[in-house]
Structure formats: C-alpha cells, structure tokens
Symmetry: C2
Subunit: 377 residues, 2 copies
DNA sequence: AACAATAAGTTCAGAAAATGAACAAAGCAA
DNA sequence: TTGCTTTGTTCATTTTCTGAACTTATTGTT
C-alpha cells in the first residue's frame, strides 16, 4: 500500500510535528529530490496536506502535516458501561460517537463492535473507505503485540486474544492497549506532547496509571508493565493493598484511596472538590488527608523524574482539581525530592480531560500502529 | 563510507546478535537477494565474518557476526589517576593498554591523549588504520550529542566541550559519556546484555550509578539525567546528602555510605567484605548496617522494576560481595516491593568487574556511535 | 523599482539499490 | 538414491534515490 519511505515520512511527521520538505528530507537522510516525489504522492493520496507557510530568508517553506481526513480510526473503551465507541480522524477529532453495552465475554464484545461499527461509520461519509484500524482500551496488562490481554482484574480475563477475535469478526486491523498507555499515545499523536520525544503521562482517577514515551515511541516494558507506578511502595509497612503488598501509592493517593481515607477520618465529603473546600475552611482532618496524598503522589513523580528524566510530565484527570492543596503539596513534594539541580527543570502539566479520553486513546492506538507500525530498525 | 543499509545491518547485528542472512533480511525488511550483496561487501571489507553454522532442516544457515578486527576503538576513563587508555576491538576485547596522568584541564587532557594514542596504537598492528573512534567516560552529566560535559562535580567542570577539543587535537571522532551509561553500553555491545532490548545497569561503587537501555538503545533522558537513582529519596527526612536534599539512596546504600555508617556505628571494618564477615559472626551493628543498606538498594531497584519493567537488571561492582547478607536483603527487598504478580519475573544479575570497566565502557561509547550512530528514524 | 541574495522546492537523466524468479548448494529423511 | 527443505546466490528488471541545474517565492539592498 505505502512504500517504506512513505511510512517513514508519516512516522517522522507524527513524531516531530508539521515540517517543511527540506527539513523532512534532512531528518530522514534523503535528498530534496526524493522528498519532493514522496510528498507529492502522499498529498495526492489525501494522507498529507500543506498547512502553514513560514516566511524567512529566501523562498518560504511550506509545512506538511497529516491530513485530518487522511485516515480514520475506531476507538472503544472497555472501562465504562455502556462502552463508548468513537470514530477519530487523523487529528484526533472525534467525528462520530456510539455506545454499546459492556460485556465480559470477548465474543460478545466482538459481535457488539461488529454490529455498532456500521452505525458509527454511517455518521461520517468517507470514513468507511478510510477506516484504517480499531483500538481498544482496557484496564489490565496487554502483550507486546497489542493483541492479547494477559491479565485484567476488572474484566476477569487471563490471556484473552481479544484483538484477533475482533479482527476476525470485523475484518479490520485491531490493537488493544492498557488504558494509561492509550492516553499517553493520544497525547503524543494528538495532544499536548506532540513535539516531546520523552515524557510520561500520569492518569489520576479512581486508580493511578502511568505510561512512558521514550524516543518518540510508546515504551511498554518487557512484560507490558512499564509505568505501573500505582504499586510503587511509598510507605514501607503501610496499609495493605489489593495487589498483596503494603503501602502502595494506590492505597494513599488514588482518588478512591483519598475518598476512603476521608471517610475513615470521619469526613462526609463525597469528592475531592468537597475535600478541598473543607481544607480551605481549615478542617484539620481534610488538610491531613490531602497533604498525605499529595506528598505521596509528588514523591512518586519525583522518583519518575530521577529515574527517567522525562521532558514532560502530564497529569490527566477526569474528576478533581489540581489547583488546591492537593496539587500544591504534590508540586512541593516533587521539588523537594528531585536533585536540586534539576528541580523545576521538568515541566509538570495537569490537564482535565472529558469522559471520552479512553475511547479517544483507544483510537490513537490504532493510529499509532498505522503511523509508527511495528518496531523498525 | 558505508551505505545506510550497511550501517543498518551492523546495527541490527549489534542489537540482536549473530544471525543468518535470511533472518537478517527478514528483520530488516529486505529481500534475501539484497542481503546477499550487502553481506558480501561487509565481509570483504573485514567488518563482518561468518561464524557458526547452524544445522536444521534444509541447507544449514551461517551466522554473521561483527569481525573482531573490523574496527578498533579507544577508551579513556577520567575516573582514576593515572587515567587508563585502552584499545578495544569490535568484540570488546582490550588489545592494548596505556595510562596517562589525569588533569582537570581539558586542553591538557586532549594533549595527553594525542601523545599517548600513538603508543597505544603501536601495540597492535592494523589498529591505527581501523581506529574508528574515541570514547571518554567521566563522572557527571553529558549533553545529548555526547560532546560536552554539562556538569562534573568531580572534575569541577561546567559546560566543557571536551569531545570537540579532543577531536581537534587527534583528528578522530570523539564522544564523551557518563560513567554508568558507558558501562551499560559496553554490557549491551560486548557483555551480558547483548540480546536484551530493555535493561538497566546499576553500578555499585563508592557512588551508585544507573543507566537504561530501552528499545535496544541507550536512553539518556531529556537532560542526560536518566538513571540518577542515587538521589532518589529512600528515607524521607533522612540524613542530608551532598546534593542538598535528604535521605537519598546514595547516603544509605553506596559503598562509601556503608563504610561511613559502619564507622559511625563504631565498627572498625574497612571494606564491605569485612563487614559481611562481622555480620556472619553475629555482630548486631554490622547486621543493622548491611540490612539498612540492602533494603534501601532493593527498594530503589523495586521502584525501577515497577516504573520501567526492564528485562534485566545488571548490578556491576568492582569491590564488595553480593552473596552475603547485603545481597540477600537486597533481593528480598526487591521481591517484597514489586507487584507480587511480577516478583521474580525480572532477572537480577550481579557481576564483578575489573578496574578497566570504565575505560572499556568508554571505548564502547565510540563503538556504539559507530554502530548505532545518531538517532535514526 | 530594479536587482541581488537566499533558500525552498522541482525536474530529469543517470546511478544506485532492491526485487523476483530461477537456481545452485547443503544438508536431512526415507 | 531420491526427494524434500531451506539457505544463499545470480542476474535481468524495476524501483528508488541522487546530483546538478533550474524555477519559484520571498527578503534585503541599492
């Protein structure tokens, strides 16, 4: 379909953002002449397009970028019921949305997707012709090929080859991925981290997830377990965690843990926001809870910075606020626990995201496979 | 000099070890026909050679590997005085060795190297013709291009463009690197991690260093600071560290810290080995010191596993033993602090290394640049 | 306003590299 | 022996890339 140079060009653009032909040629080690032809071809296929014109000395350069309607990807989140199914264009815009009932049976899931997909595609002309992949986000561990779910406590799965089952039912290339990793990919391809080669996304929710991009590529780890900061020990001999050990970050700083701790402290707060309000009114118990959680999360992030020296930490959250005590304490804990020389050198951005993050993330997994493809040398 | 396919072939072989032409062709996405020519050419140039013959069904396959004498690299360690200068072949064997007095003045260092290099090359015929790069290992932070030392407390440097100075004096491509990262590279290219794509090396010495290989490439981090586990906070509000914060791993588990703690505990031990002996005789203070250090190192390594899920952790040490209480406690601490599901899944190897590790590591940095080169897409 | 100067992007003939298909080579299995 | 299987080679053909000259679009300068 696409030549390897064309693939490579898409890869480079998706990794370094819109660039001129000359820049792209240089960064791919090709001549301007070769780039001219490759770009012309991809533009005529509708995959690339010219966007901005940059004026400098000499003839202005024209930036090439992915064409929003060059390819479409389906994304399904298995984290909610009903499960959302979205259709994303090449820019990460959601152009169609459906839902389907969640099931734990992979065959039923596949059938549901096969049933719902036509409805989704009907919402957007062109999309069915250019549908280039499906992505599924789920809570759990996924194998290296992004084909099989090794283990999901939430879904009660062990070694379920979900991608293959769906591919068979729908005939479309399908990839599955862990929820946090899917969000990281969507931030890289479509979001706030397009031009950052090395960064980590921390997803703050009822649980805490994390994923790393290293060298412009999702780093999954040797067993798909890279980024499992939730079960990093923060309080040795702390309270027991459902994972079997003690004092995990997850038992202290996750939204669920914060709510539970608040309840145990006799507070009646139902949400992080309420807790923040209480704390701002001087409620000592609320302050204590938020302080403990913020310090814990900050310490874990500091470790992350010390260990991996990322160019950016992106904290995504659906609920909650990061501009209150919790966020402030977290920031302070980060600063206090990284090498003073590096303190403040790693930008930490918090970003509120809507409920479709997971589905959009799932779609981006398909896009990532389309663009970056299997590990090239 | 070499075509990009030839470069790529060297890269693939150095990353996945000796392989047959057919396997190499497949993993590079080329036809057998193309591989045939590329391999022939590299063999005739003396860069590759045929090694083992593997018998199976059908015609046996012949493995291709780097020719030990295909290229030579110089390596200099600025961590000792006198500084060792070694000449390494393509297999990491040290074929010649010299020393030179250490200086803090980059110009004098460059001059010393230029003076000593001819003596080194004289020890091995062919080498001067095939010398393909110089590598320098030092304690401190190095910039992305491996050209400039951003900061070295030991040498008292800040933004010293050492590589350029040496290149100018010697006319040979020169790269500098942090000590731990250099060791990691030599383990990947020449040592025990040749076939592992993702691993971390922890160098245990007077200080604690660490470096990551991710996706078959050295990961340096956004400011060259990836792997700085020495200043990860292990005991919040612990004793002050020279870095400015408190409770760093370095203040608890480095060889230096262990010796100092032992002294503060009133023990007269001069080395880790003596301390182990004392502990085995039941000396409570010795046991306490080793236990604390082992737990700390184990916890840090557990974090490393949780965060990055490497395929291997390699602990290198010049002095000391890892088969005593210290090592045992460390292992236990690792097991206790990783997700139970993953406990024991990450091999941890300890490896005693000789005093030339740094110089050999430095040489491997040059080899790494020759083989893997600047970041390709 | 005319005229360099500068750099981006294009064109095209020629060079380089990769492919496909047929084939030689080196074993195993029966 | 005779197939069978798989590796590796050969070579004409096709694909892809390059180099050099050229066109284009702009800024800066007289």
């Amino acid at each position: 379909m696409l030549t390897s140079s064309q693939q490579q060009l898409l890869r480079v653009i998706s990794q370094s953002g819109p660039s001129s032909r000359t820049v792209l040629a240089a960064s791919m080690g090709l001549s301007k002449a070769a780039m001219s032809g490759i770009a012309r071809d991809l533009i005529s296929r509708g995959v690339l397009r010219e966007t901005e014109t940059i004026y400098g000395q000499g003839r202005p350069s024209i930036l090439l970028d992915l064409h929003p309607e060059g390819a479409f990807f389906g994304g399904i989140s298995l984290l909610e019921d009903p499960a959302p199914l979205v259709l994303s264009d090449f820019n990460g815009n959601i152009v169609a949305r459906q839902t389907m009932p969640l099931s734990r049976d992979p065959d039923i899931i596949a059938e549901m997707i096969a049933d719902t997909l036509p409805k989704l595609l009907a919402e957007c002309k062109d999309a069915s012709r250019k549908l280039s992949g499906l992505g599924i986000a789920l809570s759990g561990f996924v194998d290296e090929k992004q084909a099989s779910c090794v283990k999901s406590t939430l879904l009660g799965w062990q070694d379920v080859p979900l991608a293959g089952i769906i591919r068979q039912k729908t005939g479309i290339a399908t990839f599955i991925e862990n929820d946090a990793k899917a969000v990281a990919v969507s931030e890289k391809l479509f979001g706030n981290a397009r031009d950052v080669q090395n960064f980590s996304v921390v997803s703050f929710d009822d649980g805490i997830g994390c994923a790393h991009f290293i060298g412009g590529k999702l780093y999954r780890g040797n067993h798909g377990g890279a980024g499992e900061i939730a079960h990093c020990t923060i309080e040795p001999n702390g309270s027991p965690c459902r994972c079997g050990k003690r004092g995990c970050l997850d038992t202290i700083a996750s939204l669920k843990a914060i709510k539970e701790t608040a309840k145990a402290e006799g507070l009646s707060c139902q949400s992080l926001d309420e807790l923040e309000t209480e704390a701002s009114l001087g409620n000592a118990a609320a302050i204590r809870v938020l302080h403990r959680a913020g310090s814990a999360l900050g310490l874990a992030i500091a470790h992350l910075i010390q260990f991996n020296d990322p160019g950016l930490i992106l904290i995504t959250h659906v609920e909650g606020r990061f501009d209150g005590l919790f966020g402030t304490v977290m920031q302070q804990a980060v600063e206090a626990n990284v090498l003073p020389r590096y303190a403040g050198q790693t930008p930490i951005r918090t970003q509120r995201v809507d409920g479709d993050v997971w589905a959009r993330g799932a779609a981006s997994i398909a896009a990532h496979n389309f663009l970056i493809g299997p590990n090239p040398y």
